[in-house]
């Protein structure tokens, strides 16, 4: 953890674009998962502050807007340790295809767009 740089989660993390190590957009940060703190009880002195554990995407967007909470099995997580830079976008340390969060992109590529002639060609 780098000291000295304060990042406002609400303002600088949520709803930001996430790009991979090659600059390819993957998702936007739909929500954050922070580490557990005891709920509804007094915290003993010296308790560690909660930290951001994962960036969430996918179904959490719907529940953030319309309320509710998706089952935990359907959360799409990107572990915070992959984040290497927080700027006008969050940069990750690996290519997009190595993250679960980009599965819809791969699905559309493999089942629809990649099957149309010319789908794998550079524009001319």
């Amino acid at each position: 953890m780098r000291a000295g740089r304060v990042v406002d989660a609400e303002f600088q993390l949520i709803d930001r674009q996430v790009i991979d190590s090659d600059g390819v957009p993957i998702v936007a940060v739909d929500d954050l998962e922070v580490s557990d703190v005891p709920w509804n009880e007094d915290l003993p002195r010296g308790t560690e502050a909660p930290v951001v554990e994962n960036l969430l995407s996918g179904p959490t967007l719907g529940t953030r807007i319309f309320g509710g909470r998706p089952p935990e099995s359907r959360w799409q997580r990107i572990a915070w340790k992959h984040v290497v830079d927080v700027g006008t976008a969050l940069t990750l340390d690996a290519p997009a295809d190595s993250f679960d969060a980009s599965w819809t992109e791969r699905w559309v590529r493999n089942h629809v767009v990649g099957k149309i002639p010319g789908g794998h060609h550079d524009p001319e």
């Binding site: 674009q17 006008t88 976008a89 149309i116 794998h120 524009p123």
Partner: protein, 408 residues
């Protein structure tokens, strides 16, 4: 020298690319009914679009973030989604109008019903979006669109009575028209000049072409020279209509009335230039608005997008555009009048303007995003004045549409 050529090319494509089916139809309708008494609105709209396109382009070049990424980041997921739904629908109306416009131009040349041309036009737009390089599609349609300059030439060939025309430039409501109709068409013209897709396209295009802080000068020249000259083309179309159609009380119901003054002024040759110019301008706008439908959705959800990638590397972006085009073609195949779709699309654009322009103004003042390239005092003062105009136009549009029966 090479740099100068690139600059000239950029400006020329901005001129040719400014006019779309909305400008063509609305300018001619307004010219034929109100003479030159609404020219001031086009001037106002051109100043507005230059101001805000320049801002959106500057944000893209400095921060690397396109307009809809910013809309979501600043408005949050919920308001951003509502904005996306409205912007996408209005943009889809524009796509529909432009594809109908391509069909109308082909009908004008061949006499064959637009119904036949609609699916072909949709397919043509898709093939270009699917295969062509960004710079190629922009340059080709922009340069051929310069054929529209024949409208400016026609104004002089028609040898109008200048002493009779000049006083019309003073804003006033003609005796033959209602005040509410006058203001309804003022809003339509304003919406046609400031159509939101132009900003989505301009900022995303900046990222397609890998703009950086170094490109700011070139971008500014494109906007501040290219758009006003494009606006002059739009005004020429209105003047042609005011000189030829207004005195004979000819109503504009299709593109054949739009080109009538050009034919009268310069015969077949002028007609040929007008047709090439209109076809290129409308086809170019169809491409730009189709791309914008993909840009807005992909940027909101954070998907991979862009013409510089292979379609398979921006799969969902291409899927959105394909679905959008199919919907546009199906809507047109129900037999709706493309001219009517166009007239509605420019008014709905006017209604949606604040959704696009307010977030751009906020972010271009953001220190984190823009650093030293934040808006200056003058830009902010001008932008706030325009924001007020945009809000008034947006709020007044629907009541005026109801009162006037959509400008009847």
């Amino acid at each position: 020298m090479k740099k100068l050529l690139a600059l000239a090319l950029g400006i020329l494509t901005a001129i040719g690319g400014f006019v779309d089916i909305g400008d063509l139809v609305t300018s001619a309708v307004v010219g034929s009914r109100f003479g030159l008494t609404l020219v001031w609105v086009t001037v106002l709209g051109v100043v507005g679009i230059s101001l805000y396109a320049n801002m959106a382009g500057r944000v893209a070049a400095v921060s690397g973030r396109a307009t809809f990424e910013i809309i979501r980041e600043r408005l949050g997921a919920r308001a951003g989604l509502a904005n996306l739904a409205a912007s996408f629908l209005v943009n889809l109306m524009t796509v529909t109008a432009e594809i109908g416009g391509i069909a109308l131009v082909f009908q004008l040349v061949t006499g064959i019903s637009p119904m036949l041309w609609i699916p072909l036009a949709g397919f043509g737009v898709w093939v270009v979006v699917w295969r062509a390089k960004f710079s190629a599609l922009e340059n080709a349609t922009g340069l051929l669109g310069l054929g529209l300059m024949v409208f400016a030439v026609a104004v002089f060939l028609l040898q109008p009575d200048w002493g009779h025309l000049a006083p019309q430039l003073i804003p006033r409501i003609p005796a033959t028209e209602d005040g509410s109709t006058y203001w309804y068409y003022a809003i339509a013209l304003f919406g046609a000049a400031m159509t939101p897709y132009e900003v989505f396209f301009f900022s995303s295009g900046g990222i397609e072409e890998k703009w950086s802080v170094k490109s700011l000068g070139e971008m500014k020249a494109n906007v501040l020279v290219g758009f006003p000259l494009g606006g002059l083309l739009s005004i020429s179309i209105a003047v042609c209509a005011a000189v030829v159609l207004l005195p004979q009380a000819i109503a504009v119901t299709s593109l054949s009335q739009v080109v009538l003054p050009v034919i009268q002024a310069g015969g077949t040759l002028a007609f040929a230039f007008a047709v090439v110019g209109m076809a290129a301008a409308v086809f170019g706008a169809a491409l730009e608005s189709t791309l914008s439908s993909g840009y807005t959705i992909a940027q909101y959800f954070g998907w991979s997008w862009g013409k510089f990638r292979r379609p398979a590397q921006a799969a969902r972006f291409h899927l959105v555009m394909l679905i959008g085009l199919i919907i546009a073609v199906l809507v047109l195949l129900t037999g709706v009048d493309p001219v009517a779709v166009t007239e509605f699309s420019v008014v709905f654009s006017a209604i949606a303007l604040p959704l696009t322009y307010i977030p751009i103004l906020i972010v271009s003042n953001d220190k984190q995003y823009m650093g030293e390239f934040r808006n200056g005092m003058l830009t902010n003062a001008l932008s706030l004045i325009f924001l007020a105009i945009i809000l008034v136009a947006s709020i007044a549009a629907i009541p005026l549409m109801v009162i006037t029966g959509a400008g009847q």
